[in-house]
Each structure stands twice: as structure tokens, then as C-alpha cells.
Symmetry: C2
Subunit: 169 residues, 2 copies
């Protein structure tokens, strides 16, 4: 049903040009986003001042349309199965400074202004606060991560009081 | 069958800690990547010197293991359905400087050194060479993109001679 609604929405969005040939998609001037089998497109979000990677998420057609029109980031939450305006609960709205699309138009890049805020529901500025060591792997041992952000920007227990955690096991 | 093989591989990779509880996944010290229903995890790749977003792709368990061990970027090509070492054809290898994972461990960020090379099969340095205008949408008109990279770094017809284009309509 969800897919049916998404397809219906997509069908009646002539602002998205129909994907017809590879040259037009790669070298053309029109927006022809490719949504996957679940009606979603990948979005990478970076900080407009530092360039830092803040988060990675997904949009459906409606989230993309709302993001373009309002200049505020909207995503599709896969774990909560709902359209989601980033910062609606926490107050950490992402103002979109630039939005780009990649060569085959199946991935978006969004440069956003979050002021002195944060983008990670765990409380860190970036979701990518842990580093994976590189080099030989010992197949019988778990790989230990290194924390790169040491301090949280906010206390998620206060900010998201009573809200379910979007992380799923 | 592909999924069966991926699960088999994942089962015998004790270096990936089993996902058991949310606190361990978000705040813990061990690598517990979440692969999606197709056995894939999202990867965002940036240039280690400029911070610029180069590309977005996917890895399966094997690509992640090879990337960690060799310090060279390996991906899973969804269009070609194969493990793929970036730069094997073009020569534009990505040397991995840092690899991070996000809060719920379902997305990777890779900072890479590509020297004076490029990462986009169309010939541009970054795959994200076109910008989407922001603001009100005219529902009856297609959205026109703006080219942000004006010059290609290489000629894909020479570099990928005879290879099929990974972009699919």
C-alpha cells in the first residue's frame, strides 16, 4: 500500500522528468531522480560551514518535494515508517543551503546550516562519531571502534523525552 | 542465492559483533554493522584533503572486510551485481585514510585520497556535479539543474573503452 501511494505520488509529479535515456540522466539539465524499490533515494547531509558529514538518510518523493519547497530538510524514516522533518522534536532544524544530485540521479547531497546545533539523535554533532581501525583483521576477534567525538552537544534523554529511539537492533 | 551467500559470510565473520541491544550499538566500542535486506550498507565517500563529497555507494560484508584490510575502497555494484574495487579499470584507486560508522551502525563514511584523480564515471571529480534549485515548485514544469563542475577530469570514452555504463534508466 505504501509503495502504491508513493508510485501514485511520483506519477503525478511532472517536475520529475521521466528517465528515458542514460545521456539525459547523466549529462542532462533536468531532475529525474531514481527512487529504489521502496520508493526511496539516498541523502548525504553535510555541514555548510565545516563541510563535515553530519548524517545519511533517505527521502521519498514527498520528502524531496517538501525539502525543495521549504528549504528545510525532510526525510523518510525507515525505522518509524513516516515522513520526518529533521529537528521537529529536537529543535535542530536543518536549513538547506545547497542540494545536489549525482551522475545517475539516485543519490542526493544536501549542504545544511545547523547553527551551533547537532544532527545525531544520540547527542553528538555528527552521526559518524566512531572510527573503524584499518589494516589486518584478526578473524577471531571483534573490531574495536575509536570515539572521535568526545562530548555530546545535547542530552538526548531530555530532548527526546518519551519518544521511541529510532535505532533498531 | 546471493542473499544466502551474504548471510553465510556474515555468520562466519566474528569480527562483526552480533547486534544485541541499542546501547551497545550506539555507545559501544565494537563494530556491529547492519546490512539491509540485500546484504548492503550505505557508504559516503569524501575527499580527505578538500572534504568534498565524491560519491555515495554500497558495500556488502566482503567489500567492507576488503576495504579495511587493504585500505583501498571496495564497493558492491548494485547495477553490475559484483564486488568492485574502485579504480580497477580507470586507475583512480581510492586510498582510505579514515573509515567511520554512524550511530545505529547502518551507514559508513570513508575519507579517501584520490590524488589529482576523479571519482565519477562520467568524468567529473565528484559524482555530485549538478545542483537542484530550491524554492517554490511549479508543478507543471520540470526542474532544471545547474552544472557546478564545468570541466571533466578525464574522458570516460577513453578510460572505460568497451565497458558497459553502470547507469541504468
Amino acid at each position: 500500500m505504501q509503495i502504491a501511494i508513493l508510485s501514485f505520488f511520483h506519477y503525478f509529479t511532472p517536475m520529475f522528468k521521466k528517465r528515458e535515456n542514460i545521456f539525459e540522466i547523466e549529462e542532462g539539465k533536468f531532475l529525474s531522480p531514481k527512487f529504489d524499490d521502496n520508493g526511496l533515494i539516498s541523502v548525504t547531509t553535510t555541514d555548510c560551514s565545516s563541510g563535515e558529514l553530519l548524517m545519511h538518510g533517505f527521502m521519498n518523493s514527498e520528502a524531496l518535494k517538501k525539502t525543495i519547497e521549504t528549504k528545510e530538510a525532510h526525510y523518510w524514516s525507515r525505522s518509524r515508517k513516516t515522513l520526518w522533518q529533521k529537528g521537529k522534536t529536537s529543535g535542530f532544524i536543518q536549513k538547506v543551503i545547497e542540494l545536489r544530485i549525482d551522475d545517475d540521479q539516485d543519490s542526493l547531497w544536501m549542504s545544511v546550516d545547523i547553527g551551533n546545533g547537532a544532527s545525531c539523535h544520540v547527542g553528538y554533532k555528527s552521526c559518524f562519531y566512531r572510527s573503524i581501525p584499518l589494516g589486518p583483521i584478526n578473524n577471531s576477534e571483534e573490531i574495536e571502534l575509536e570515539f572521535k567525538e568526545k562530548e555530546k552537544k545535547f542530552d538526548p534523554e531530555k530532548v527526546y523525552k518519551g519518544q521511541p529511539n529510532p535505532t533498531k537492533v
